[in-house]
């Protein structure tokens, strides 16, 4: 285990706990910045598009992570906020607002309306909140239809390309630019998120998650804090929605459906609730496994002439892999990652059963 001798108050405030950590993060940054080079080299950006998709998922995932992982409020309605961001973005762009303004605004407006919608249900906990947001998610499609003048309703709406000071960015025609753009947004949000967690706002979120009673007794206003969390969360989801729109090119009332909301929740749980990297781990799982399965199947077909043609097998296989993930790592992939890291840090002193799960027991959620 690494012991960090703390000699000043800064030690706890710094973004990175120690030099090595900073180095690792720098390497990671270099890696993600250099990734496109590989695709340039092979001259095929197909998979880069999928990686970009993962980043978009991760942005939405961070939004939900803040709400569910750090504030303890489950939501099965985040596709709604994505929809808001996406449609606001389309409309602003349609009205001639430059992307550089329209994009952040679409997040903020989604955040604002998200908060308005969430306000009446902030008193709810656990299953009840999940169900209320689920209801919201189910109704989203209907609202998109009702708001036809802005959304194109059932017929759908085409999403204009991004234009930043004359630079045209499109998911397919300029995949590299699109990747860097999404990457930039993701990194910016990670930085914001980490700042939040080391300041009073973030602490008040986790306080509410762990004990509402204590939080109140420490002077935290539940409604305002939860609303803030909802706002930030919906803003991130809105931004992701806007980017998702650019990556889909065309959206309808069925695009941001319940399945998408569920996928987001699933993603952060698999990634590891309560950890920022969890959003990324989860997005990788959710975004890459289907691609891997599909390509694996194609590979079997082309190389070994093995054709597996059972309809729906891919979804089932994906679900099965998820079951395995949950079963073997209920704390999420980030939990597993921490163990692997500890293993290396401790190397010779590591005991095999060190991370054996001690029996654990649940208590009711109905006492709040």
């Amino acid at each position: 285990m690494r012991f960090v001798l703390k000699t000043s108050y800064d030690a706890d405030i710094r973004l990175f706990k120690h030099r090595a950590q900073a180095v690792w993060y720098a390497l990671l940054l270099l890696l993600v910045l250099a990734t496109p080079l590989y695709f340039v080299a092979i001259g095929d950006a197909y998979l880069l598009g999928e990686i970009t998709g993962v980043l978009i998922l991760a942005i939405a995932g961070m939004g939900l992570m803040l709400l569910t992982g750090h504030t303890g409020l489950p939501s099965l309605g985040h596709a709604t906020f994505m929809a808001m961001g996406c449609y606001v973005n389309i409309n602003l762009l349609g009205a001639g607002v430059p992307w550089i303004v329209a994009f952040p605004l679409s997040g903020l407006i989604a955040g604002f309306f998200g908060t308005l919608i969430a306000l009446p249900v902030l008193r709810l906990h656990g299953v009840y909140l999940a169900l209320a947001t689920l209801a919201m998610s189910i109704l989203t499609g209907d609202f998109v239809v009702m708001a036809e003048p802005w959304t194109g309703g059932i017929a759908g709406a085409a999403v204009p390309d991004i234009n930043i000071f004359g630079i045209e960015i499109n998911r397919y025609s300029t995949p590299y630019k699109f990747y860097y753009l999404v990457l930039f947004v993701a990194i910016l949000l990670v930085w914001f998120y980490r700042n939040l967690l080391r300041t009073p706002t973030g602490r008040s979120f986790t306080a509410i998650r762990d004990s509402e009673i204590s939080a109140r007794a420490m002077g935290i206003n539940l409604t305002r804090t939860k609303a803030t969390s909802f706002f930030l969360s919906a803003t991130a989801a809105g931004l992701a929605g806007a980017l998702f729109g650019h990556s889909a090119g065309y959206v309808t009332n069925e695009t941001f459906d319940l399945v998408m909301s569920i996928t987001l929740l699933l993603m952060i749980v698999i990634g590891g609730l309560g950890f920022i990297p969890g959003a990324f781990f989860g997005a990788i799982v959710v975004g890459i496994i289907p691609v891997a399965i599909a390509n694996g199947r194609s590979f079997l077909a082309t190389t070994f002439d093995v054709n597996i043609n059972v309809p729906g097998l891919e979804s089932a296989l994906f679900a099965f892999i998820l079951v395995c993930f949950i079963l073997f790592e209920p704390m999420g992939l980030y939990g597993r990652w921490l163990k692997i890291r500890t293993y290396f840090e401790l190397f010779p002193f590591y005991r095999k059963d060190m991370f054996k799960r001690q029996k654990s027991y649940l208590k009711t959620d109905r006492v709040q």
Binding site: T199, D210, A217, M218
Partner: protein, 263 residues
Amino acid sequence: MSLLDIDSVTLRFGGLVAVDNVSLSVNEGEVFALVGPNGAGKSTVFNLVSRFYDPAAGSIRFDGHDLLQCNADQVPGFGIARTFQNIELFEQATVLQNLLVGRHRHRQTGLLSNIVFSPKAYREEVRHRKAVEEVMDFLNLQPYRDKMIGGLPYGVRKVVELGRALASEPRLLLLDEPASGLSVEETQDMAFWIEDIQTQMGISVMMVEHDMGLVSAVSNRVMALSDGKELATGTAAEVQSHPDVIAAYLGTGEISKTGTSRA
């Protein structure tokens, strides 16, 4: 001069009168103890002050402010901090983080400056940490600084809770059974801390406690409650010798190996 004034407060849960027309006041700088049998309504009085419950009648004033006019989350703003009988810490956070939440009422930065971690937010953080480190030094919590609450023994948690309350730099500290579950040695530490809190920090304390040793060691005044009603008020010695208090609460203190002490 009295800091907290509870005046003829009554609270019912359905048919049960948990607090029955109770009046008390805690003076500036004093340690005021509330004792009484289980279910007497002591914690309920705390919960009334914390504004978790609305009284059916009566008034609660703190330093001239009408507490009944405000919400639970505004109470700490006046300088009232509390601990809980059954420990309510933020389990998935470290000791340091718990104490930092205690500083919430001194927060001065807004959302925006938090998100971008502005210099102002940085300076505020440094201030908070300084205050928290002092509390940790005072309560000998440094060894547990970065430990998760989830894995701490009961006694340490009690101290962390006290620390969290102290971190908010209150004027009045409400301690609900601070020494329950503590060993004799730890109880003595607790007594010294309470003394220091009173004398050196100038914080008034109101506490509920069943350990009469601790009560007599630290409290200036004691009130005994039973069935929601006041039984007796006075110095520790006075209350302890009050026959009703002995009958309802204290008992003889000896274990008879043959029969119950309830005659």
